[in-house]
Amino acid sequence: MNATPASSSSPSVQQKYLTFTLSAESYGIPVLKVREIIQLLEITPVPQSPSYMRGIINLRGKVLPVVDLHRKFGLHPSEFTEQTCIVIVQIEGSAPGTLKQMGILVDNIEEVLGIQASQVEEPPDFGHAISSENLLGVAKVQDSIKILLDIDKVLAG
């Protein structure tokens, strides 16, 4: 259970992803990366931090940084709504073998979705604001497309 993409396993095996939306686009992250989904808390801005770093939250006594994926991806910044949530993810720390928790701001949580490996395709090289190296692939679910994010790489930069 490291950075290996799910597509490497057998096609019949389904991976579970947590899907959410950002600016009407649908994204997915592997569910094992997710620690918790919480409602929007008060975010305290941190001075001299990157613009995508919205600030820090106090989650039951633990101080966690919160990243605004809108800003990270250069999308239109959207206002907070009642649907806005913070997904607490567990990613690899800066030192190898360590784990750290971070919050990511999403517009709306969709669901926990099982996606077959056969539904996943390689990310295209062009046409998107996100560089393809941050992607695990593109999943075709019914008529829509869900972009599967490699959240470790997204948050590493």
Binding site: R35, Q39, E82
Partner: protein, 400 residues
Amino acid sequence: MTLLKNASLTTKLSVGFMFYSLVPMGILGGIFFSVAEDVKQLQQITLWTMGILAVSLLVFSVYLGRKLSAPLRSCIESMQAVGQGVASGASQVALVSNTLANGVNQQATSLQETSASLEEIASMIKINARSAHGAKDLTGQTRAAAEAGAQDMENMNQAMDAIKSSSDNVAKIIKTIDEIAFQTNLLALNAAVEAARAGEAGMGFAVVADEVRNLAQRSAQAAKETADKIEEAIERSTNGVRICVKVGDSLRGIVDKARQVDELVAEISNASQEQSQGIEQIQTAVEHMDQVTQMNAASLQDCSSAAKELNAQTDTLHGSVLALASLLEGRENGSHTGSSGHSDYSHTPMPSGSHRNGSHDHSGSNGNGMNGHRSRSKTPEAMAMEEAIPMDGDFVDFSN
């Protein structure tokens, strides 16, 4: 005849006179001739004296008659003229009073028509006044109803506002339900995440989490639909409030108009009342005019009868004048036979309307045939007179 009578009378008088004057003379003669005188001589003397006296008397009377006849005739002629003038004046008065009577009759008829029209107008005005009064009552009721409607509209506005606030409260509750559903959804998602982390062991739990999530989503959906409904209800109640405000404005307009109509109808009612009073005054005036006209008619009757009376008097005068004239004429006829050219006034038009007082008895003794002349000679003037003054039933015709 009169003349003969007069002559015999004169003779008798002369004889008496002679007798009483000559007896003393005879006595004296007897004294002078001392009975020797013959009675025949005395008789001759007496006859002579008588003859002389008779002749002198005759001459004297003729002289006197001639002397008096001229002024008498002129007097009779002027009386005749005056009588004619008075008669024509009286007939004119009769004519005028007849015309006046016609006018007064027409006036009376017109006044009666006017009075009838006035009564009709008065009744119409009374009906008008009654209708105006009824209209006033009705407009008053309309106004009251419109005002009550406006008041009800206010109440309805308040009710609509209450509905709106209730809807708002329901919307708040729905929002709370929605939040709870959202949190339940999050909890279910978290449970699903945990189940996924548990791997094979968490499979059942994942199913439960999925069901819980489904429920939460259904709750959220129901809450959303309810919210939509509530939103719609709020929208409709807002619309209702808006319409209520408009209806209230319209009702206020109706109230204003009803007030104006009320005032106008009140004015009409007052005007009708005044008209009614005016018509009553006019009716009184017309009644007064009617009375005056009747008095005029009565006066005209008096005038007419006065004219008749005047005519009768004129007739009497004429009779008297005729008698006098015939007297004079008879004398002249006696002295100057064939000079009867002065009978022209017997042909003068005499009003025959007033012969009934029988004032012509004295003319019958002369027997001049004047009556026939007078009664037959109905000149146009007399005819007009008869037309003007209708003869009474007791009129005595003198034509025979």
